[in-house]
Amino acid sequence: MTNRSCITLYNFFVYNSNFGPREGEEHKKILFFHPADTNIDTKIKAVGLSEAVVKFTETFSDKPCDALHTQKTRQVFLQPEKDFWMVMTVTIPKSETEKDGQTHIEYHEDDVQDSVYGAVLKQAYNMFKLFMGPFTSILKLTNVQHLMQRLDHFFPRYLQTLRLGQADIMEVHNGIQFLPLDKNTYLRIQCFINLIEATFSQVKYTAFLYNDQLVWSGLEQDDMRILYKYLTTSLFPTALESEMCRESPKSGGPLPPITSSSHFGKYVTGPQNLNDSNNLGKIPHIYVNTDTRYEELNLIAYRALSATVCLMVEPTSIPGFEWYKKIDAFLGPQLSTLASDISEQYSKRASLPSDQQFKYIYFNHMNLAQKTTIHNRKTLSAIISPEIVRLIADINASFVKTEDDAETVMKTVSDCWVVGKKSDQREFYVVINQKNANLIEINEEVKRLCSTHFNNIFFLD
């Protein structure tokens, strides 16, 4: 056995060929380049190569180039806006074997899937757009220097948070987990949100989450998809971490302030201490509906127990510190009650016996609903072998090519079955670990699963 190296980021850059069309001005095309300490010649060469590849492939296909495979690297391309190109290069994992006293290096090209890393790149762009706005809008409102500043401000930190080694089918789906809820509780939440928006007219949109699961989004689906990703992979984990640190004060240190209120509500983004009117805390700016209304909003997240309300407010309309206090007084008690009611329901559902015989991933393209039992809920990393997870992404890649319903059944060398099904806009992948099963038995098993789990939707098996 040998140790494989990890997939790492080799480079990442953004360019626009129109900015330096003449010879000697090539450097002007480069808007952002990672790693920053790369010398300018290397940068220009990398951009030049990518330009060449893009131009060259254009002669063969109407669709722009997706990826470039080399022995040691994989390069993925994205043209998110007209003439703007984003390119990411990752390393191919390698392993060394000793044979006849000679070191033999093997590159595992199959470990890196185009669809997965294409999705990672796409997400990088979407995240930038959420916090900074689209490239063309920034250009229109300011200038190239400003655009470069924003790129420089955003990407170095963002790229650090990428966990390339763990990227899998989940990046491709990029879905949303919804909280299963009964109708009455859902309606209570719905009316609660309406009440917030009616009482505080500054709030333009609201989203409601319980843990990492979405209950309601006032934002459109595409924006919510990006925001959801940010909340669940960045904001919530960070908030949770800092909370952990705060909750264990060192002996002799100051005790945490005791709040007089009887609720559990507090700001995740916004003032951390409601007695300190000088500190409004950090409040992210987001850009939504960039294709239509182009709205710039403040994202104020407020949490009580496991429930989070995200208030999206026009930056110009926040009246000041008193407003935060009012919001807290209004949201705190009601959200606390709602959260504890949901948790009661939630624990009842969670305690239902679950079938441990199989693991699955479900995704619906129409509402982006995603469910997975092959990933750890907290860390979101896969709990089954990476080879099998990669198989799922492979099946998915083949499904993308056809509009029709499809089904793929695969058996691994380790006697594990992976079944992928596509019915209209829904995808369903099952991993069954059943020794000595034959195709007929597996087919029956999947049929049974579908009929028990999808009896309330139109999912043909």
Binding site: K183, Q190, C191, N194, A198, G218, E220, D424, I457, F458
Partner: protein, 655 residues
């Protein structure tokens, strides 16, 4: 009318008119039949009886045998009882034309004096004397009375509540021990007596609790003894109070409520629509109390109430007089009536009589002006829900609460919806219980006006509201969701037209993703009409197609619709797979599928579908041909011309 606004109590527009009191005319009122008797010259020149309607109004003559003390007709108006002395009541049978032969009944005992009498039931009459009760049955044919029962008890005065057949006697020197009796078809039931607490006991003792301060009435289905307690001397700050004693069957009446009048002087009471209306003569105002509208209680037993609103005068009344006093003119003239006149006499439950004017009115409540007088909408709705004629007023309150100008907060609207739906829910529950209990007996109880159902809200409130261009669509959706939430909370099934309203509002404003989320959580319940509505939205919102198919699948009665939807989208194979999955492959029409396959112009698809049905034919009938009833000739020809007749399945020949 602008001058209508400032009043919440009014007199009935068409009072019963009668000849006013004069030297020759005496006027009497019978609380049992609600009849006014105008007796001219002791009856010799006529007795005019005016009841609530034509049937209860008659006139006749009788011999003048002296001054009449009291005069009352039996319930069937066949026997007239006249009291002309303290000892005797005379009877006249009216049914036999002018039968002037009177018969009479004297009270028992030499010193006994009749205080009054009342008809209790068809031909049953009770005399209340200072020594007790004498209960008789009148036998008009024989012109005699038969004693049914007598009770000995010293009596100061009495109050009678005809609709509940209840008699209340005041006994003891102070008069504050009250003894109720209940009459039922020839029997007399003595209920537990109770004592009314007096502010001060005079020495030597004398009658303190007077007849004019005590009434009985039905309020919210319970009998109450209503006692007016005047302020004590020396306690000038304390206003008068009205004390309510709730009558109990097994135990003495219970003091339950106290109404704080905060005024003193002469008062009169009416009960209108379960409200206690207190008229105050000195200030010429009236106030209303509602014992169900909360109040404060210090001990948990007695609740203290303040008036629902500030005291206001009764709406001025103009009496129309036709030509009577002005004989030369035929047109009507109007005279203003003096309100709270000293000539007024008040009877239960809602009667005011002005004997000098010759008018009998009923006191009415005006609900519309209250809408602006009670600014707290939840209290207003609480109040209105308890009124009998409330439906349109509540609906207009709801309508007003939603539109700009008087728009209420969403939280208030939410509370109001919950209040309405609580009543609605109680009604549905009662209805289903009645349905289960006995199907044969139609429940006599009329549906209360306070039951405001979804159709009412839709017609009078929501359908108007959603078309209002001044209302923000966000608010419209919020209000509709609030109503749907409230219905769900009370487990009332939501009707389709409400969903349609929600969907249309969302669609008109391009809130498709919100709509999607509602459907995802089944906030809008599945139905075929809803699924069809979703299908029609596919062109503007693609996921609507999936939502519609899912819904049809869940309905499980819409398999045909699913097939139609799929075929219309040329998903012939999907349709076949679906029909196979629900086990209806043997019954579907082959023609429909072949037609759909042909229109796709996909030869392979047509071939596949054709072969599929050939196999079905073989399985069902033993040969692969289509039978004439299936009308597939056209497709067979198409198959032959495309693939050649040799491609048709050859039936197996069994030897």
């Amino acid at each position: 009318m602008a001058d209508d606004e400032g009043f919440y109590v009014e007199l009935s527009p068409n009072p019963t008119r009668f000849e006013s009191v004069s030297k020759v005319t005496n006027v009497f009122f019978d609380e049992v039949n609600k009849q006014v008797f105008a007796v001219r010259s002791g009856g010799a020149t006529g007795v005019v009886v005016k009841g609530p309607d034509e049937k209860t109004s008659i006139s006749f003559r009788m011999e003048d045998k002296g001054d009449v003390i009291s005069i009352k007709l039996s319930n069937d108006m066949k026997v007239l009882a006249v009291q002309r002395s303290q000892k005797t009541v005379e009877f006249i049978n009216l049914s036999e034309g002018t039968d002037t032969n009177e018969y009479s009944q004297s009270c028992k005992g030499k010193t006994t004096r009749i205080i009054g009498f009342n008809w209790t039931y068809l031909n049953e009459i009770v005399f209340i004397t200072d020594h007790g009760i004498e209960f008789y049955q009148v036998i008009p044919e024989k012109k005699i009375l038969k004693t049914l029962k007598t009770v000995n008890i010293s009596v100061n005065w009495f109050v009678f509540l005809p609709e509940s057949s209840l008699l209340l006697l005041s006994s003891t020197t102070l008069g504050n021990v009250l003894q109720p009796f209940y009459f039922k078809g020839g029997t007399l039931l003595r209920l537990p007596k109770f004592e009314v607490d007096l502010p001060v006991t005079p020495k030597p003792p004398k009658l303190c609790l007077l007849e004019r301060d005590v009434t009985m009435s039905n309020i919210y289905g319970q009998v109450y003894i209503i006692v007016l307690r005047h302020q004590q001397r020396g306690h000038a700050n304390m206003g008068a109070e009205v004390v309510l004693y709730q009558l109990q069957k097994e135990s003495p009446a219970k003091k339950t409520d106290v109404l704080r009048l905060n005024m003193s002087g002469r008062f009169a009471l009416n009960v209108v629509d379960n409200l206690i209306v207190v008229h105050h003569q000195a200030s010429k105002t009236s106030m209303i109390f509602d014992i169900k509208l909360g109040g404060e209680s210090h001990d948990g037993y007695v609740t203290y109430h303040l008036p629902v609103l500030a005291p206001l005068p009764i709406k001025p009344f103009k009496l129309k007089i036709t030509g009577l006093h002005v004989p030369t003119h035929t047109q009507t003239t109007e005279i203003s009536c003096e309100l709270y006149s000293p000539n007024w006499i008040v009877f239960q439950p809602d009667i005011v009589i002005d004997a000098k004017l010759g008018c009998l009115w009923h006191v009415h409540l005006k609900l519309e002006p209250l809408v602006t007088m009670i600014p707290d909408k939840t209290r207003l709705v609480d109040f209105l829900l308890l009124r009998s004629e409330c439906k349109m007023v509540i609906l207009s309150v709801c309508k007003q609460a939603l539109v700009p100008g008087h728009q209420c907060k969403l939280s208030t609207i939410s509370v109001v919806f919950d209040k309405l739906n609580q009543v609605y829910r109680n009604y549905l529950e009662m209805e289903s219980q009645a349905g289960q209990a006995d199907l044969g007996i139609v429940r006599g109880k009329k549906r209360s006006q306070a039951v405001i159902d979804q159709a009412d809200m839709y017609t009078h409130v929501f359908s108007v509201f959603v078309d209002n261009k001044d209302v923000k669509h966000k608010f419209i959706v919020a209000v509709l969701m609030e109503y749907i939430r409230s219905l769900n909370q009370f487990q009332i099934p939501v009707q389709h037209f409400l969903y349609e309203l929600v969907i249309n509002t969302l669609v008109q404003n391009n809130f498709f993703y919100q709509l999607h989320q509602f459907l995802q959580y089944h906030v809008l319940s599945d139905s075929k009409p809803l699924a069809c509505l979703m299908l029609s939205l596919e062109s503007v919102y693609t996921p609507a197609h999936q939502l519609a198919l899912d819904m049809l699948k869940r309905l499980s009665t819409a398999n045909e619709e699913i097939v139609e939807v799929l075929l219309s989208k040329h998903q012939v194979l999907t349709a076949l797979r679906f029909i196979r999955s629900v086990g209806q492959i043997d019954t579907v029409s082959a023609r429909k599928f072949l037609e759909a396959a042909q229109t796709t112009e996909d030869k392979m698809l047509f071939y596949t579908v054709f072969k599929f049905f050939e196999e079905r034919n073989l399985r069902l009938r033993g040969h692969p041909r289509f039978v004439p009833g299936e009308h597939c000739e056209e497709y067979v020809r198409h198959f032959e011309s495309t693939f050649g007749s040799e491609s048709l399945m050859v039936p197996m020949v069994t030897s």
